[in-house]
């Protein structure tokens, strides 16, 4: 059990009378790369946000690195942890959003080290050493002191990735990170993610880039209408395509 | 600490106060009207290609936005007689407020005109419209629709600025409130009722103007 980085048990979330997702079960082992694919509205993004504790969920549990996060039992009742505890739990996961969310008033380097200095209380010079290394790792060594407004979309996403990695999370989440980019910038971001996979980073990736998912994943999850409809290896999901719904979905991609 | 309210003083004075309120509204609207005309002239001068016009426009706007309104009112009412221009109190205040409003409207209109994409003006030119037609049929309608929210704010501000007329004894709401206060020492009644009247009027104006904006926006 403590081998798994992430274990999700029967997660269920509804919003008013709308069911967002239910019976979601997922396991991610160390160094595993798991992709989540599926039509829009299937609950993929919300699932990531729940793992990140940015959203609440009504049933089920999320276990990160052996400990349940988000909720605990108080006298037999299920209660959400206090904001303080949740803040500390959030650094177990790192997330890269679809819409950038870099801090526009900080340089690339300052964006990356803010968490290190303010949350992990690192010394400034120590933090900057780490930050420089990370930015070099995503191939932005010359843009350390540039402001986001001066960077291209692809460069901004790479800074966002460096920022997420800086906090040393157990698992890295990606929420359709290339969907908002111009076509010619997608490649540089995907290459960084491929390199991360080679380096053994545990990742959970929501994406529409099917060939990329096929190439980089150890496991692919197909989500449809709020349920996990299929889980398998890239071979099983993309080539064999056993279920009709899966076939229908993938045919729209000409993969 | 006890205070004995006596609303009877308000009751007996309510007529004067409402008259004062009405006068304030009247002054505000007239000043806005003249201010709009002035503002249009100055705004077009500001965006024109004539360097001299640009400068005059800039000086006008900068001057009237940096000088206190009360001082301006005194200059017009007490100072101009020195050079032979004498005006009755209400007229002098309307004159003052119009000049002041003109400067604010000029800024709003200038920004509004400059926000119209050049492409739209060029579209008018290529179908042969004259400068006048482009200005009247294209620029002004677009500009007015865009600046309506700002203009509403200016109108409400102008209405509140009419309170300054009390300083040159124009019988406006603030003048009566102060008179009531000084004559009867009923501080709370005098000022709370004046404040109440102003607040209600401003809210009504804001509400009506917002409805007007909404109506015009649907087009």
């Amino acid at each position: 059990m403590s081998e798994l980085v992430l274990k999700i048990n029967n997660l269920k979330k509804w919003y008013g009378t709308n069911k967002v997702f239910e019976d979601v079960c997922l396991e991610v082992r160390p160094k595993e790369v798991v992709s989540i694919i599926g039509p829009s509205g299937s609950g993929k993004t919300t699932l990531l946000r729940c793992i990140m504790l940015l959203e609440k969920f009504q049933e089920g549990s999320i276990i990160l690195d052996g400990d349940e996060v988000g909720y605990h039992n108080v006298n037999g009742k299920r209660k959400r942890y206090s904001e303080k505890v949740i803040s500390s739990q959030r650094i177990l996961t790192g997330i890269v959003f679809q819409s950038l969310n870099l801090f526009p008033h900080l340089t690339a380097l300052k964006n990356v080290v803010l968490g290190l200095i303010k949350v992990k209380h690192m010394d400034k010079s120590e933090a900057e050493k780490i930050g420089i290394k990370l930015l070099e790792r995503v191939d932005l060594g010359e843009k350390l002191h540039s402001y986001p407004s001066k960077l291209s979309g692809g460069q901004q996403q790479r800074v966002a990735i460096a920022r997420a990695i800086a906090m040393n999370p157990k698992i890295l989440l990606f929420d359709e990170v290339t969907s908002a980019l111009d076509p010619e910038l997608i490649g540089e971001v995907l290459n960084v993610i491929k390199q991360l996979a080679k380096d053994g980073t545990t990742m959970l990736i929501v994406t529409h880039e099917m060939s990329f998912a096929y190439e980089v994943s150890d496991k692919v999850v197909f989500m449809d209408a709020g349920k996990v409809a299929d889980i398998g290896t890239p071979q099983e999901i993309f080539i064999e395509r056993n279920s009709p719904r899966l076939k229908e979905f993938l045919s729209t991609f000409n993969a | 600490m006890v205070y004995y309210f006596s609303f009877r003083v308000v009751q007996s004075n309510i007529g004067h106060m409402l008259n004062g309120l009405g006068l304030g509204l009247f002054i505000g609207v007239i000043s806005l009207f003249f201010g709009i005309i002035l503002g249009l002239i100055v705004a077009f001068a500001a965006v024109s290609s004539n360097r001299a016009f640009n400068n005059i426009a800039t000086w006008y706007t900068v001057f009237f936005r940096n000088i206190p309104l009360l001082l301006l009112a005194f200059i017009v009412y007490f100072g101009l007689p020195d050079v032979g221009i004498m005006m009755e109190r209400k007229v002098s205040f309307i004159f003052t407020l119009s000049l002041y409003a003109g400067a604010y409207m000029a800024e709003i209109f200038r920004a509004g005109l400059q926000a119209i994409p050049k492409g739209i003006i060029e579209a008018g030119q290529v179908i042969g419209l004259t400068r006048f037609h482009i200005c009247w049929n294209i620029q002004l309608p677009i500009m007015f629709r865009n600046v309506l929210p700002s203009m509403s704010n200016v109108l409400i501000s102008l209405f509140k600025d009419t309170s300054l007329a009390a300083s040159i004894t124009v019988p406006e709401l603030t003048y009566f409130a102060r008179k009531l206060n000084v004559e009867t020492f009923r501080v709370l009644e005098a000022w709370l009722s004046a404040a109440f009247l102003y607040i209600v009027t401003c809210y009504l104006m804001a509400y009506l103007l917002r409805k007007l904006e909404h109506k015009l926006r649907i087009e």
């Binding site: 990140m52 940015l54 803040s87 500390s88 959030r90 650094i91 790192g94 997330i95 959003f97 819409s99 950038l100 969310n101 801090f103 526009p104 008033h105 900080l106 803010l114 968490g115 303010k118 949350v119 402001y147 986001p148 920022r163 997420a164 800086a166 906090m167 | 600490m1 001057f63 940096n66 000088i67 206190p68 309104l69 009360l70 001082l71 301006l72 005194f74 200059i75 007490f78 100072g79 007689p81 020195d82 050079v83 509140k160 309170s163 300054l164 603030t174 409130a177 102060r178 206060n181 020492f185 501080v187 709370l188 005098a190 000022w191 004046a194 404040a195 102003y198 607040i199 401003c202 809210y203």
Partner: protein, 220 residues
């Protein structure tokens, strides 16, 4: 003309000092309170927000002059009952501060609300607590949007000191009126005062533009 100005130099000096003092305190107190109120109006729950919303809407619904008179007469009346005598400059500053606080509150609220909610989430994602998110992420971005309209409020405060002449504060306008009473000519002296206001306001705006540059360094 210059002889008379020279004769009155002391009065004019004190008049200018009063104007500058009033402007300064009104801006400082008003801005500090205003930013605090704006924060509450943006992030507070509906019970906490209510008194501040009421305050801002009431103050913005009345003319500054009415606020000045009200505070002068009402506060003066009640405070004298308990033995405190409030001088007119102080009550004028209280009124101007209250007025500018309401304006700055609205400006701040608007600026804070215009920052995309994603920024808060990005801060949460790297484990920051809300107070740190506000100090290091939200406020630096908000201040860039607050400064330009704030310059306007600051000049309004400077111009508003003339209203204090109507409650007997010996600021520039009142001093000028007194000077005129002895000399007879009005226009030149009022225009002279106008020049002083013009200069002071230009200084305020210059300071404001410098401040604006400093806080907007990261924008395109």
């Amino acid at each position: 003309m210059f002889r008379i100005l020279y004769n009155f130099r002391i009065a004019l000096f004190f008049g200018t000092m009063n104007m500058v003092t009033a402007t300064f305190f009104a801006i400082i107190i008003g801005t500090t309170l205003g930013i605090l109120f704006g924060f509450i109006l943006c992030y507070g729950n509906k019970y906490v927000k209510f008194p501040f919303r009421l305050y801002v809407d009431l103050v913005r619904g009345i003319p500054a002059l009415v606020l000045i008179f009200s505070i002068y007469y009402i506060l003066g009346f009640f405070l004298s009952r308990v033995g405190i005598n409030l001088d007119n400059l102080k009550s004028g500053i209280i009124a101007l501060s209250a007025f500018s606080a309401a304006q700055v509150a609205e400006i701040t609220r608007g600026a804070l609300q215009s920052i995309p909610k994603d920024q808060i989430e990005a801060g949460k994602a790297i484990g920051l607590s809300f107070d740190k998110i506000f100090i290091f992420i939200l406020f630096p971005q908000a201040i860039a949007k607050i400064v330009p309209p704030w310059i306007n409020t600051a000049t309004e405060m400077c111009k508003g000191t003339t209203l204090l002449s109507l409650i007997g504060v010996r600021e520039l306008l009142l001093t000028a009126s007194q000077l005129i009473a002895t000399s007879g000519d009005a226009l030149v002296y009022y225009m002279f005062i106008g020049l002083i206001f013009f200069l002071v306001n230009t200084l305020i705006q210059l300071f404001g533009k410098l401040l604006e540059k400093k806080v907007s360094f990261y924008q395109l």
